[in-house]
Assembly symmetry: C2
Homo-oligomer: 340 residues x 2
C-alpha cells in the first residue's frame, strides 16, 4: 500500500503502536482491527489499558518498549458513543507524547480539547492528528474531466464491505504491477493508508470538491481505487454518497451488497433497495461527471450465507448483471481485476 500525501493531512508516520482502550468491546476497536488486518507492515505492537483483555494478536508492548523499538505514532483506532477522549485514556496518550510519539485519532472530538494533552504536545512538539478535522481549505467541486482512471465502491447501504473491497482490489492490482493508489475516505481507511480525507467530516459544501482533490489528475495509465461511503438509499448519509460519486467521476463502479440484509442499517423502517434499482440510480447520477461510467463488478458480502449458498448467489448475480461477482474475503477479486 503506497501512502501518498493527500490534501491538508500530513501522512501518519509508521510504524504505529495501536492503543485498544480500556474496555472490552470488540466493536469499539474495529478501526484498529482494520489497520492490523490490512496494513500489518505498519503495526509494531498493541497495548490495552486498564483491565482490558482485548487483543489483535500483535506483539504486546508497553509504550516505553514500543518507543524504544521505533514506534512513531500512537494510534487511537477507537470508537465510543459521543466520540470523545475517555479520561482513562489520557495518561496513556501523555506517556506516548513524552516518549516522542505523534498521536492519531479518529474521534469526533479533538485531542487538544483536553488541556493536559494539549500542553504535553506543545511541550514535546508532538503532532496531534485529528483525522476527522482540519479540512479547512477545500474548494467546491468543479466536475472537470481529470486524467487517469478511477474505480469507486458504491453500495446498497453502510457497512456492506466497500472498504474491504477497495483494499482487496488495490492489493490485487499492486501484485499485478498496475499503477494504482488506494484513496481513503473514512477513518479506518485513512489510518490504514496513512492519508486521505474523512469525507463525512468535511463541511457539506465541499464533499465533491474534497474528492476531486483526493483523486486529482494523474498519469493516463494510473488507477485511483476510491473507498466508498454510505449509499444513495441510506437516508442519513446519501448526501455524502452522491457528492463522493460526483467528485470521483468513476470510470468503473463496483456495487457492494450484503446478502440477506433486508433493511437499511439501524433503520428497520427503511427497506434495503432492489439491487438493479440501486445500480441504475448510481449509474444515472455518476453519468453527470463521467458519461462513460460502467458497472464493473458486484462485491457480494456472503458472511450470512453458507459456502454453497454464496456460490449460487454469486453465479446468479454475475449472470443477471453480466459482470464478475465476488466476495473479497472468500473468492478474492481476481475475477474483477482480470477485466481491467
Amino acid at each position: 500500500m503506497t501512502a501518498k500525501k493527500a490534501n491538508q493531512m500530513e501522512p501518519l508516520k509508521a510504524p504505529y503502536h495501536l492503543f485498544l482502550g480500556c474496555g472490552d468491546s470488540e466493536l469499539a476497536i474495529k478501526t484498529s482491527r482494520g489497520i492490523a488486518q490490512w496494513n500489518p507492515d505498519v503495526c509494531l505492537g498493541e497495548i490495552a489499558g486498564g483491565n482490558s483483555r482485548l487483543s489483535l494478536g500483535l506483539p504486546k508492548m508497553s509504550i516505553k518498549e514500543a518507543s524504544e523499538n521505533g514506534a512513531k505514532t500512537f494510534v487511537l483506532g477507537l470508537a465510543n458513543a459521543g466520540g470523545y477522549v475517555d479520561p482513562e485514556w489520557v495518561p496513556y496518550i501523555i506517556e506516548a507524547i513524552e516518549c516522542g510519539m505523534e498521536i492519531a485519532s479518529g474521534l469526533h472530538r479533538r485531542l487538544d480539547e483536553i488541556p493536559e494533552i494539549k500542553s504535553a504536545a506543545e511541550k514535546h512538539g508532538a503532532a496531534l492528528h485529528d483525522i476527522r478535522h482540519g479540512y479547512t481549505d477545500l474548494k467546491t467541486g468543479k466536475g472537470h474531466k481529470r486524467t487517469g482512471k478511477r474505480i469507486l465502491a458504491v453500495g446498497t447501504d453502510c457497512s456492506v464491505g466497500k472498504m474491504y473491497t477497495t483494499l482487496a482490489i488495490t492489493n490485487e492490482m499492486e501484485a499485478r504491477n498496475f499503477n494504482v493508489d488506494f484513496r481513503a475516505t473514512g477513518q479506518t481507511g485513512v489510518m490504514i493508508a496513512g492519508s486521505g480525507i474523512c469525507i463525512d467530516a468535511v463541511v457539506a459544501d465541499f464533499i465533491s470538491g474534497g474528492i476531486e482533490e483526493l483523486a486529482p489528475d494523474n498519469d493516463a495509465d494510473h488507477w485511483d481505487v476510491i473507498e466508498g461511503q454510505g449509499s444513495l438509499f441510506n437516508p442519513a448519509f446519501a448526501g455524502v454518497s452522491l457528492g463522493l460519486l460526483h467528485g470521483s467521476q468513476p470510470d468503473i463502479i463496483i456495487m457492494c451488497v450484503e446478502a440477506g440484509r433486508d433493511h437499511i442499517k439501524d433503520l428497520p423502517h427503511i427497506p434495503a433497495p432492489d439491487l438493479k434499482d440501486c445500480i441504475d440510480l448510481n449509474l444515472k447520477c455518476a453519468n453527470l461527471t463521467n458519461p462513460d461510467v460502467k458497472l464493473g463488478g458486484i462485491s457480494l458480502n456472503c458472511r450470512n450465507l453458507s459456502a454453497e449458498e454464496g456460490e449460487i448467489e454469486r453465479k446468479q448475480l454475475a449472470a443477471e448483471f453480466n459482470v464478475p461477482c465476488f466476495d473479497p474475503m472468500i473468492t478474492g477479486v481476481a475475477s474483477f481485476v482480470n477485466i481491467l
Copy 2:
C-alpha cells in the same frame, strides 16, 4: 413571516441595522437586498461605510442613530471572495457592539477570529451570531415519517429562484390563514426569517439530520415551506441537495428553473439538465423518505424572457407536466396555493 426558533441558533433580534460594507459591488450585498425585500418590517435602516454609494433605499442612519431608534442587531449581509471580515468593516462592527447591538454575520470566517471584535463583544456582553457556524449538536438523519406537511423547492441549478419561490408561497399561504412556517436553509433565508440552518455549512454527515430537526413533527394541518439548495445536477452541491431532499421528506416538491439557462452556474462544461429528467430524479430520490411525494408546480424564472415569451413558456410547461407553472415575481404563486 413568523420567525420561530430552530435548532442551536438563537433567533436574531429585530429590528436590524443593515451594514452594506465599504465597496461598490451590488452583488456583494445580495443578502442585505434579500432581507430588505422580503422582510422590510425588521429593517430599521442601512449604513454604507467608507466611500461606498450602495443603498437599498432604507433610511440611512449612523450606528448611533440606529441604536437610539431601537436597532437590536447589526447585520453583515455581505459577501466577499474568501468570506472573511474585511479590516475596513471592523470599526463599524465595534461601534455597533459599543452601542449595545448584537452582530449577525453570514461570512465563512468567524467574527471572533478578529481579536478586537472578540474582546469588544466580551466586554459589552454582545452576542456574535455566525450563522454559518455552531451546528455542533446535530444528529444523523433517521428517515422516520413525521407529522405535518412539507413543501420543498428543488431546482435544475443554484440561483434559479428557490428562496424567492418558497418565500412567496409562505406569504401567500399566510395571507390565506394557512398554518405555515418558512424554513430557511441558506444564509439569506436565515437572516430574513431570523432562524434556520445554513445546511451547506454543516458537517456532511448531518445534512439530512439537520433538516429533520429544522422541520420536525408538527400539527396535522401545519405546512413547512422549506427553502431548497443547489440541484441534484450541480456537481459541486448535489450532495447537499440530496440530503436536503431526504431530510425534508416533502409531500410536494416545486421544481425551480430559469428560462434560457443552458449550463450549470459557473460550470460551462456541464449542460443544464433536461427538465423532465430533473423532475423524475428528484421524485425518484424523494420517494425514499416519502413514497407519496408529488410534483406540485413549476416555478419558472422568466427574467431572461419577454412578457409574451414568458407567458407562452409557462403555459407550455403547465400543459406538459399538468401542474401550475408560475413566476413568483411576475404572476405570483396563487395558482399553486389554490391546489393545496
